[in-house]
């Protein structure tokens, strides 16, 4: 029990975070359903028919929809497909942290030294994650029920609990699979496990389109997840499929325990012997290390490349989806009202401007948050202290951080802008190149606004910075996207940090918004430089 409590304690922020995400995801979708689906059976039937057309375009990613005229069917489709992906990502981060992160920090060595067997250590991690994921999944069910109450309806508790069991089961099966991979390989365990989960996900989702994959889809745990649809009326909870997920968790966990017993701590079961090479005693002579800014960009080149490629891939996907689903979306009366509020000008261009560049702002805010998290980590792990032991002022550190972040954001914005331009050309969507460049470049000040807030927060509340900034970004995005649907007061919508971005793809740069962003960035970094001067490093 102590080991389970310790594992729960180490993962408490994941539990809290995903419980909040789960609750918000289902609550928002339930509330949105009542806002856009209409109130009469006829309206809802029409809504379901229109939305089913969209769903049919997205079967490559999401399972087929059913009973979209009900809140259960709508939330099952809109939230639980995405939640399975999110919980799988949580399992990936949590399992690789438990297997590799804790081991690198020496925590596993200490726990094993107390006399606890390795099998029990691993079993405790799996049990703790099962508890955590079930609690978070229950929060998601609670979000749906509260959302239904807000829509003057009630939702039965049985299907809600079945949905929670199902979500926890897919999460735990992914967790055990990652644990197993982390025993087999060491340094790149997270990357390989992530690739494996992505492959298993795509194997199942692509099998809906490509018949040749039907024979292989039994390999994917996501297949057993989507065999149950407990939320819509007439839906089912497939007990056998859920037990298969539990079985995957047990078998993969057992194999992971076996491998854990047979390998050395800090090593992998299958470790390649290091190739023999003479030791090196000279410092690197690469010129990049001598150039300010460039050395930091070079230091984080892999992360930056991953962000640029990831955001660009999403940008291209949004362009493709824009071409495919805009017309079906506009045929939904409830959504037509929404789009009328946020779309201005030519339809495809407006759609890209409002939806893709809305998501892009959220993504670059996420990029800023990861960089701010890195600044906090540099402070707590002593790297900042070592940097400041050189003849560099604290102000210079703040300025260099801002410039590195700005250049990083510029690279992401430029590459993703090119991706939007190229894919739009292929999809025959006519975009003004100048406006596209402006819209892409305007992502840089958005990034810097979050970074400026983050720099200030990191100087005062380093441990809470990522959480506060993440909540602010998510709330800003929701206010921007949902404000028109819920007819929130203008001043509330103005609180969104993304409001300052405007609609540069359609209307050109909003100079007032840009000026405000520049002012926020300058004041934020100036204030953080002052706070940085006055505070204790590592405190």
């Amino acid at each position: 029990m102590t080991a389970i409590r310790l594992a729960l304690r180490l993962g408490q922020w994941g539990l809290i975070g995903f419980a909040i995400v789960g609750f918000i995801a289902t609550f928002i979708n339930a509330v949105a359903f009542y806002a856009v689906a209409g109130h009469t059976p006829a309206e809802r039937e029409a809504f379901a028919r229109s939305f089913a057309q969209i769903a049919s375009q997205l079967t490559v990613l999401l399972p087929p929809a059913m009973r979209l005229d009900t809140v259960g069917g709508y939330v099952q489709y809109r939230a639980y497909g995405s939640l399975a992906i999110l919980f799988a990502i949580w399992a990936l981060a949590s399992a690789s942290g438990a297997a590799r992160g804790n081991e690198e920090r020496g925590l596993v060595e200490v726990v094993v030294a107390t006399g606890l067997s390795r099998v029990r250590v691993l079993a405790a991690h799996v049990a703790a994650f099962a508890i955590a994921s079930f609690v978070a999944a229950l929060a998601a069910s609670a979000g749906l029920m509260v959302g239904a109450i807000a829509g003057q309806e009630s939702f039965p508790i049985g299907p809600a609990i079945e949905a929670a069991v199902l979500l926890a089961a897919i999460a735990v099966s992914c967790y055990s699979l990652v644990l197993l991979v982390a025993q087999l390989v060491a340094r790149i365990a997270t990357g390989i496990a992530g690739a494996m989960l992505l492959a298993l996900f795509l194997l199942n989702s692509l099998s809906r389109t490509f018949a040749s994959l039907h024979t292989l889809r039994w390999l994917s745990p996501f297949r057993y997840y989507e065999l149950s649809t407990p939320l819509p009326p007439g839906g089912n909870f497939d007990v056998t499929a859920t037990l298969v997920l539990v079985g995957i968790a047990i078998v993969a966990g057992g194999l992971a325990a076996l491998a854990f017993q047979k390998r050395d701590l800090g090593s992998a079961l299958f470790a390649l012997r290091a190739s023999a090479r003479p030791p090196t005693y000279e410092p690197s002579s690469a010129p990049v290390w001598r150039v300010p800014i460039v050395r930091d960009l070079y230091d984080r080149r892999i992360g930056l490349a991953t962000w640029a490629v990831g955001v660009s891939a999403m940008a291209a996907l949004f362009v493709v989806l824009t071409k495919t689903i805009v017309q079906p979306l506009l045929s939904i009366p409830g959504l037509a009202v929404y789009f009328a509020a946020i779309l201005h000008g030519p339809i495809y261009q407006s759609f890209l401007s409002a939806l893709w560049f809305g998501v892009a702002q959220l993504l670059v805010a996420g990029f800023a948050i990861t960089q701010v998290g890195r600044w906090s980590a540099e402070d707590t792990d002593g790297r900042l202290e070592l940097i400041l032991s050189n003849p560099v002022s604290r102000t210079r550190v703040v300025i260099e951080r801002a410039l590195v972040l700005a250049l990083g954001a510029l690279i992401i914005a430029a590459v993703s802008g090119v991706a939007v331009g190229v894919e739009s050309h292929y999809q025959s969507i006519d975009l003004d190149a100048g406006r596209l460049a402006e819209a892409s470049l305007m992502l840089v000040p958005v990034t810097l606004v979050f970074a400026a807030f983050g720099a200030l927060l990191a100087a005062r509340l380093p441990r809470a910075t990522v959480g506060i900034l993440g909540t602010f970004a998510f709330a800003s995005y929701l206010m921007l996207q949902l404000g028109p649907i819920f007819k929130l007061p203008e001043w509330v919508q103005d609180l969104s940090a993304f409001k300052l971005y405007g609609q540069p793809l359609i209307e050109g740069i909003d100079r007032t918004g840009l000026a405000i962003m520049v002012a926020i960035v300058l004041v934020g970094f100036w204030a953080s430089a002052i706070v940085m001067q006055r505070r204790d490093v590592g405190a």
């Binding site: 340094r187 090196t280 005693y281 410092p283 690197s284 690469a286 202290e385 050189n390 003849p391």
Partner: protein, 306 residues
């Protein structure tokens, strides 16, 4: 008049509840090797971090070569090589990249010197930081502190994690660096370390500097371990011995008495009061024993300052 390498005046950092550093008055001369001794939590790292300008003192001031450690911190760091108590994480960067990265921040490093030090400690700079053992991380810290030939080295517990052979190599490096004209300020809780390399030692306890002494002076402290053997049938004056001034840790076992004597032997000899002693042995204390005698938590701070 030459400028002192380090000068602090009433330097204080109060963390509350009696924790921190209080009224540190310290002077370290150029080309001196100064050892800063104290157990964990005594305030050594706090003092060092004040000197490096990492934390702001609550009161008092610190100067390095006449420069204010806070106001002139950039100029100070041009003259200083610093080794923190714990090396931070550099993840997948290789040792040679860490050196190049921090060397790039400093502007000037001597690649030949880096190579020389890395070879002396057999530190393979081609390996990734996360693959380094704790000893190798310490060696990298040594390379980073010494690589630009600083005028002053501030080293926080530099030999922790190093094996004895590498510790000896480190002491040789310190002596060579001092002979080349540098000043060295190192903290430690290992007395044998300061015996090897230091000219003077400062002992800190509960955030207060309780003694600064030449190494010889510390050896000269009148602390002796005594062993007395009384003649058979002699009544041992145990009570008198126990109450004698400066006599501590008295253990009576049959006809043998062992004790520690601080200061002169006179009170102990008086306490014997004519009892027949057949054997009397006095052993020279090691620095460790001197330190422990004065450093016990229950010993008054003033005791060592005598």
């Amino acid at each position: 008049m030459p400028v002192e390498a380090i000068q602090t005046s009433k330097l204080s950092k109060d963390y509350g509840l009696g924790h921190g550093l209080f009224d540190l008055d310290l002077t370290v001369s150029p080309q001196e090797v100064f050892g800063f001794l104290g157990p964990n939590g005594a305030g050594k790292s706090t003092a060092i971090r004040c000197l490096m300008g990492m934390i702001r003192p609550t009161f008092g001031s610190a100067h390095i070569f006449g420069l204010d450690c806070l106001r002139d911190s950039v100029a100070v760091k041009r003259k200083v090589g610093y080794m923190p108590g714990d090396m931070p994480q550099f993840g997948s960067l290789r040792g040679r990249e860490v050196v190049a990265y921090l060397g790039g921040l400093r502007g000037t490093i001597d690649p030949a010197l880096v190579q020389k030090i890395a070879e002396r400690f057999d530190l393979d700079l081609g390996r990734r930081f996360r693959e380094y053992s704790s000893g190798n991380k310490k060696k990298l810290g040594i390379v980073l502190a010494f690589m630009h030939k600083p005028d002053l080295l501030i080293l926080d517990e530099p030999t922790g994690g190093l094996d004895p052979l590498n510790q000896q190599e480190f002491y040789r490096l310190v002596n060579e660096t001092r002979e080349a004209g540098a000043t060295i300020f190192l903290s430690s809780h290992i007395l044998s370390e300061v015996e090897h390399v230091c000219d003077r030692v400062g002992i800190i306890r509960s955030g207060r500097l309780v003694k600064v002494a030449e190494l010889d002076e510390i050896h000269r402290f009148h602390v002796h371990r005594m062993e007395l053997e009384f003649a058979p049938g002699t009544e041992i004056p145990e009570a008198a011995i126990r109450s004698a001034a400066g006599v501590e840790d008295v253990v009576v076992e049959d006809s043998k008495v062992t004790c520690t004597v601080k200061g002169t032997f006179e009170p102990l000899l008086k306490a014997l009061n004519g009892a027949t002693v057949t054997n009397l042995a006095s052993s020279e204390p090691s620095l460790e024993e001197v330190f422990l005698t004065y450093y016990r938590p229950d010993a008054p701070t003033e005791a060592i300052a005598r």
